[in-house]
Symmetry: C2
Subunit: 308 residues, 2 copies
């Protein structure tokens, strides 16, 4: 079983970039063509439209990028039918050789955390057999509940060669309310980062990175640079690039000098880059993905990835 | 539209107690009778067993207690079929006049938080119409991302007379790792509690309680008492009573003197109180619920509720 960080690192080297396409489908941003075909007006129609859209986006981006990140909230918003869509898109992405990060920001304690974790990774146990549920490569989790609440996620991820990304410094403007609170001379998020660094060290891949990563927003470039220095062995998942205001240069500090160590997510900047009435929207998605890759290759060490 | 806290308070007065039954179904703890009837070995069978079990538990406890709290993780563990079960159980509980708290500990930012929140409360918007998804009265949320991330949950809850419960001091042993960090002379959880107190004040019901509550574990009785004094207008949801080790006396400090202001959750102590081969398991559930009510009525101000 290949270590999660090694799988991420080789996927990034193979594609020559570290771009993650966020699958955050919103009805109002779907191509009109799809909205018309699935116009029944029920959440099941909405889920089917998300599925067709997601499949077509995956077909466009799979040859270009190493990672995709479906956002659970938008699929849950369609009810059970949306979760069928989520399952199918995760399976398709996996078949296409993409690394999948399920963005669920899950958190709970003991056997409840274990239920979330097994659904994401190892599969739910029933009568001695494991049944895959989301079968993702990684899951985002929230650290507020402490180590014993994070533990079940690590255990389940490690069973199946998966990884977790722990929220450290989120990309929203209001993140500072608690994350920047001064705790014994250092902001809270640095204490969380310390813990993440310790958890990551427990299981390092050959690439020198652990299977516990950190989510750090591109909207905080100084923090990204500082945390890269403090946590050389932690893989960063960087949201907030593009539509949320982070520039390619803002993400640069998150990479290691060889271009590894970070994944930069773009959601709306790629999957909602077109006007809904644009008939050639897949070409627009392809162009936006290529543009993000070019933009990040120029402004960050990511450009070295394809050259090794 | 009646304010969330007023609905909770009258439901508690009507039933004469403030007990919440947690619906956390685990396959191994289901009655053998149910496991045999749904023994197909797929997650859909598991979801159907959870549904029959949940319905029968609801029928037993609905006349006794004011509130139920399904734990999303255990339904998600069955995949999409489990979410159908969750939807049906929430709808049944509502028809039975129970207040429903969806325990999902959700958290995210901006339109993503809005998608979670609308699914929980107001319904997902599609072509100008709202479609109910979980249609719960309340949702548990995680505060780590800050106020702007909590905001969409408040907005959606307030549209439909719902409420949120923010994690403040969780019941697990490892909660202290971050929640007790010394931030400018006070532990982190007290800063979160301050914020929750401010958010609750924005929309108080006639009972004097807000629609933003706090989750505080029964395993921390001293903190419960302190926070009750600091936050007289905040409704507490108290997990950790029973199977997790908190006693009825441990929850006493969480109540206001008239017996309002707190809801005490018991999950395994009620829904997993019997041996799987017990044929009269519903009577055991009824007895355990009555025992929890009696136990808490004796040891806490909750006993005053039925007498007003």
């Amino acid at each position: 079983m290949t270590h999660f960080a090694d799988r991420v690192t080789s996927a990034c080297r193979a594609k020559g970039n570290a771009v993650c396409v966020g699958l955050d489908p919103r009805w109002q941003q779907l191509p009109l063509e799809l909205r018309q075909r699935h116009r029944g007006g029920t959440l099941t129609d909405m889920a089917r439209a998300f599925e067709e859209f997601g499949c077509r986006v995956l077909d466009v981006v799979a040859p270009l990028v190493p990672v995709v990140k479906p956002q659970s909230a938008f699929f849950e918003a369609c009810g059970p039918a949306g979760l069928v869509t989520l399952q199918r898109l995760l399976a398709r992405a996996r078949r296409q050789g993409l690394i999948t990060i399920l963005d669920g920001k899950r958190n709970d304690i003991a056997s409840t955390a274990e239920a979330y974790a097994d659904a994401a990774f190892a599969g739910t146990m029933l009568d001695g057999q494991r049944h895959p549920v989301w079968d993702a490569d990684a899951l985002t989790i929230n650290p507020y509940l402490g180590r014993d609440a994070v533990e079940p996620f690590l255990v389940s991820a490690r069973k199946s060669g998966g990884g977790v990304f722990v929220l450290v410094r989120t990309s929203n403007a209001g993140a500072r309310l608690f994350q920047d609170l001064d705790c014994q001379g250092r902001p809270l998020y640095q204490h969380v980062a310390d813990a993440v660094g310790g958890w990551a060290k427990e299981n390092l891949g050959q690439c020198g990175l652990g299977d516990v990563g950190a989510v750090i927003g591109a909207t905080h470039p100084a923090e990204l640079t500082l945390l890269r220095q403090l946590l050389p062995h932690v893989l960063f998942l960087i949201p907030g690039y593009g539509a949320q205001g982070g520039s390619s240069a803002d993400t640069a500090g998150g990479f290691r000098s060889d271009g590894s160590g970070a994944i930069v997510n773009s959601s709306r900047g790629i999957i909602a880059c077109f006007r809904p009435d644009e008939p050639r929207w897949e070409q627009a998605v392809e162009q936006a993905a290529r543009q993000a890759i070019a933009d990040l290759s120029k402004a960050t060490p990511m450009g070295s990835l394809g050259k090794s």
